[in-house]
Symmetry: C2
Subunit: 320 residues, 2 copies
């Protein structure tokens, strides 16, 4: 118990430090540019105001209208296709926000929808990820056999490397596709895929927002939806593989020293002993052992995973 | 294997149906209102255009400026406090998008930052959630002893009910606080907390965007950060409790019928038998048994986890 509390405290300290470092770096990278953009915007704004002689109130009204009109410019967001897209962003927790419920009943339904949908999605991606890992393991075994190895075996390291390659490939494939369909640079499309599949989903880039694609380009719409769902499976399966490995390594070491695991030991010696044997570290250690031996095994996956942009590359409001 | 594939297929079918139903309901709830708002906006826009007589191009420029200026209006987003806030939204995958990296180097750093930060956050919340569940279990045991029960025992159902109450309480507390500080209605603040703590993070409501709070109200800033991190712990711990229970129930049934679990059975009868015994369902079943017996146990948590608004309640552009 005390070890667990110490480990928790250490992790919290780690996170706080990580946030402080991140904040410092983002400040250094973005603050300067923010000031520059702010000055430029203020300049352009006063030029327009001088040209037309807007009153302060009318100008604010114009700005408000512009902000509210933005999603409409991107097409109908709440027809079936748009609603389906929105529903995906809810249950996968991507949450671009390119559209958000405007009515109170929409907000209420959204919350209940998420309440049931998110756990359902987690369970589904766990299942899909496990199947994917099983498939990858089978393919690796077959490949090793083809290479003529006498006792082919797929190690955890093989799986991690394979996982990395599949993830990178998925991101690159998506980047190429969205760069082509949305007119983004490859880098911005890659960034979009990354932010989507980690479910961060800023919404600075959102697919299907150009040329009323939601209504006019059903094949592209279908591709986008499939990409998000398959991509999340891939990232989730890999994240799980890596995170569980770390959990097993971290939780295991101090307790493994105290209680060596004996494969033949009977389990029933009383509840205390059973509880001891079946402590978290033991369980995780066994999970790890079985991950090696059992091709079908994959621990519960938590999906990790993002947005479109208007035609004009100078970013939507969020990229300040 | 075949059962696992069938289960996966069933889950996928389930998700697709869930999305179809969700899309239909969102369409019904929001489409009408969207058309209404669009008409109203177009009307107001033409009134202003008639009044000032600006060209189509200048109007588009105005709209672009308004969109780009919006985050600036909410204050400096990339000073240290704002960057810290942004860093939180990245590693927790909330991703409001109220600010997003404008520079390419910011985008690159953001991706690497997320790559390491997200797994680190998952592990930390798993650890914190486990400690929280342990504390809740201890409190429940103590409460039952106080009530004079002779053999106090905390059942999984007790834990789920307690979890629900803690989650609801967390949301209500946050709603009250943000309604007060941001000037939102209680309902909108509750919606904000929900969307934040499930990490959907639309960004239609974002805290700390009024009155330059990031620079001027350090206590409120600290409160907001703490609320997000503690709230995610609570929601993550509960989600895990519930999701694992479902995983154990779902994965267990067909295999349990085939292989009854005998407490005293030795484990080493050969790799096939061991693999069979240590199949996923067996493991999950044991995890469930130990969740009952071991006060400290809690399965890996995936954090689930909200947005600010400008002073004028008529929503930011996203709530169309």
């Amino acid at each position: 118990m005390r070890e667990q509390s110490a480990r928790t405290a250490a992790l919290v300290l780690c996170i706080v430090s990580y946030l402080l470092v991140g904040a410092a770096v983002f400040d250094a990278l973005e603050s300067e540019a923010e000031s520059g953009r702010k000055r430029l915007l203020a300049q352009k704004r006063s030029e327009l105001r001088r040209k037309y002689g807007f009153s302060a109130e009318d100008y604010r009204e114009l700005e408000r209208l512009a902000l509210q009109a933005e999603p409409h410019r991107a097409g109908r967001q709440w027809k079936f296709a748009g609603s389906f897209y929105f529903a995906i962003t809810v249950i996968t927790t991507i949450g671009y926000g390119h559209a958000a419920p405007g009515t109170d009943s929409g907000k209420v339904f959204c919350m209940f929808y998420a309440l049931l949908g998110i756990p359902l999605t987690l369970v589904t991606f766990q299942s899909l990820g496990e199947r994917l890992n099983a498939l990858v393991r089978r393919l690796l075994l077959a490949a090793k056999r083809c290479l003529g190895l006498r006792r082919p075996r797929v190690s955890p390291e093989n799986m991690v490397v394979a996982g990395l390659l599949v993830c990178a490939g998925t991101l690159a494939l998506g980047a190429a596709a969205f760069a082509h369909f949305e007119g983004w640079t490859f880098f911005h499309a890659y960034y979009y895929c990354f932010i989507t599949l980690t479910t961060i989903g800023f919404g600075d880039f959102v697919a299907l927002q150009n040329d009323e694609a939601l209504q006019r380009k059903p094949p592209y719409v279908a591709f986008s939806f499939l990409y998000i769902l398959l991509g999340l499976t891939v990232i989730g399966a890999f994240l799980n593989l890596v995170v569980l490995r770390f959990l097993a390594a971290g939780a295991d070491a101090p307790e493994r020293a105290a209680r060596p695991l004996r494969p033949g030991a009977p389990e029933s010696r009383g509840p205390a002993h059973r509880a001891g044997l079946l402590s978290i570290s033991c369980r995780l250690h066994r999970l790890e052992l079985c991950a090696r031996d059992n091709p079908g095994f994959s621990p519960p996956a938590s999906p990790g995973a993002g947005g479109g942009q208007t035609r004009r590359p100078p970013a939507r409001r969020k990229s300040i």
